[in-house]
């Protein structure tokens, strides 16, 4: 018996009301497995961020459902505020902006994710220090965010996402603010985390240069899944969707 996927999104629909209904997501389904690094691509406005918000339990879907570790956690009308513990322990978030707390240093920013989960400060800081060291930031451990470069801040944000050792990591354009070298480093970091920790990682990205590091990518357009590809060791194969999907469009 295989383990359930880390993340399962089933027929996710999201409509926004804003002077006419915006169909941000229009029936998207996908699964993410442990140790897998998934790229989510698509033009601007295609619904990538919306998909991540729904998968990350920050927005309820208008229709469809979200499963985490095989457990149904979000559906239309679900109480997302009550899912904080799931977010705290099972999901790590990384965004385009690092969103660090400006008055806490790097170690404390990372340790915060543990301390809000009742880990005493001593062990939390030690663990945070270890993570920062692993991400090459040992020398920046006690710097405030304002003293860090954009790439360093983003790595601190990654360390914070990793702090609780979550099985699922969701990242929305984590490299958009970085140059291509730094951007690739961050994706490589996710690759390592997926390999070494067995986390399932979904990354929204526009950047085609690091695509070789992904296990596979899915592509959105107008809120629908329009393509998927499997990358194997730098070779990217494009393949169409199933006939049913194509028919629906």
């Amino acid at each position: 018996m295989t383990r359930p996927p880390v993340l399962g999104v089933d027929g996710a629909v999201k409509h926004y009301d804003g002077g006419g209904v915006v169909r941000a997501l229009d029936g998207v389904s996908f699964e993410l497995h442990a140790g897998e690094l998934l790229g989510i691509m698509g033009p601007s406005g295609s619904g990538k961020s919306t998909l991540l918000l729904i998968a990350g339990l920050l927005e309820p879907p208008t229709a469809g459902e979200v499963r985490i570790g095989g457990q149904r956690v979000s559906w239309p009308g679900a109480d997302l505020d009550g899912l904080r513990e799931v977010r705290r322990r099972r999901i790590g978030f990384v965004f385009q902006k690092p969103n660090l707390i400006p008055f806490l240093n790097a170690t404390e920013n990372v340790a915060l994710a543990l301390e809000i989960d009742d880990v005493p400060p001593g062990p939390a800081r030690r663990h945070a220090g270890g993570l920062l060291r692993a991400l090459g930031l040992a020398h920046r451990a006690s710097s405030l965010p304002a003293r860090l470069s954009g790439g360093e801040q983003q790595r601190v944000a990654v360390a914070r996402a990793l702090a609780n050792d979550p099985p699922l990591i969701l990242a929305d354009e984590p490299t958009a603010a970085l140059d291509s070298v730094r951007g690739r480093q961050v994706i490589a970091l996710f690759r390592r985390i997926a390999d070494e920790r067995g986390a399932g990682i979904a990354v929204v990205t526009h950047d085609p240069r690091a695509l070789d590091l992904f296990d596979r990518t899915i592509e959105l357009s107008d809120g629908k899944l329009v393509g998927a590809s499997t990358g194997i060791g730098g070779l990217v194969l494009q393949r169409g969707l199933s006939e049913g999907d194509v028919e629906r469009r």
């Binding site: 920050l58 969103n99 806490l104 809000i116 989960d117 405030l144 070494e196 920790r197």
Partner: protein, 400 residues
Amino acid sequence: MDARQPRRSGRGDWIVNLALRDIRFNAVRFLLTMAGVGLLVTAAIGMVGLYRGIIADALLIVRDIGADLWVVQGGRAGPFAEGSAVSATLDRRVEGVEGVAAVRRFVQFNQQFEAGGRSLRATVTGIDHPADDGGWLRLAQGRGLSAGHFEAVADESVGLAIDDVVRLGADDHRVVGLTRGMVDQMGDGLLFVTINDAQAIARRRTAEEVLLARAAGNRSGAATTSSVPQDSKIAAVLVALDSAADPAAVVAAIRRWGDVAVLSRDDQVDLLLNKRLWRLRVQILAFTSVLLAVMTIVVSLIVHTMTLEKLHQIALLKLIGARNGVVVSMIGQQAMLIGSGGFLAGVGIAHLVFPLFPRRVEMTVADLAALFATVLAIAGIAALFGISRAMRVHAREVLS
């Protein structure tokens, strides 16, 4: 990379103190904010203290002089709320009343005079020496009156020093003692002389006023607001009762004469607080409430602004799954720190500044405690508003 996930403590609600870290990070701003709140608190302490000071000053003589009854001019509520003049020999009549243990004569009037080239102002108060040993004076320096004539004990606020000689009426008086904090209801410092001297000073003044009035063609004689408008009159006779006496019987006996009025100490206190000072008290209390309203609004705005500035971080905390308690304690603690820090700053400034003020600003522990509770309540209410705003923040707002 393979560092093991540390254990949860299970019970711990221990968390890095976000409120304090933020304060440390923005220390200058926080200190300025606290100083601002502190100045408001200082102003509130000042208003309340002024109120207390005015009451304390007004009641000082009535309380300190230790008379059970005041026998004053008939039909008058003297000598503080209204003028009063009674015969200088009334004390002997009162002394004969059953139940009266001791009597003293009392006279008090304002006087301007020159001393050492300066124009000074004091409220001359007659002490019935030697019947009254003046033991109730709050002496800070020197001694009380010991000679029957030409000595004076002045309050520090008058501006005289020991051994200064002041000409009052037709005679020179030597300052032998200084009191501290003894002023009349208008804040003028008291200047104590024996009752005979006081009468002489008043007589001389009356005579001058009569001459002046005649010179001005006013045939009706002296016009004066002093409690001693005529020669050889005093303002009141103070009565100490026998411990066994029935006060009501003594009052009734004196009242039966028909030409005098009798007031108890409580009557005097009531007259001063609820008649003479009524408008002033209401005025100050009204100002105090305006000030507290301003303080409420300002502190609320400060706490609210602080919350608004942190909405992004609050959204982040929610995003990474922090419980509401983390957010609530961050906002609540900061509000309380601003409140209590501001209060301490306010008390500090008040202690530095108010002693330099011309009138007494009385800071009682009870008032300060009440003000502290008020400030904390204001901060608490402001924090509740901030918290309710913070609770409406969605985690996804991190992304906007």
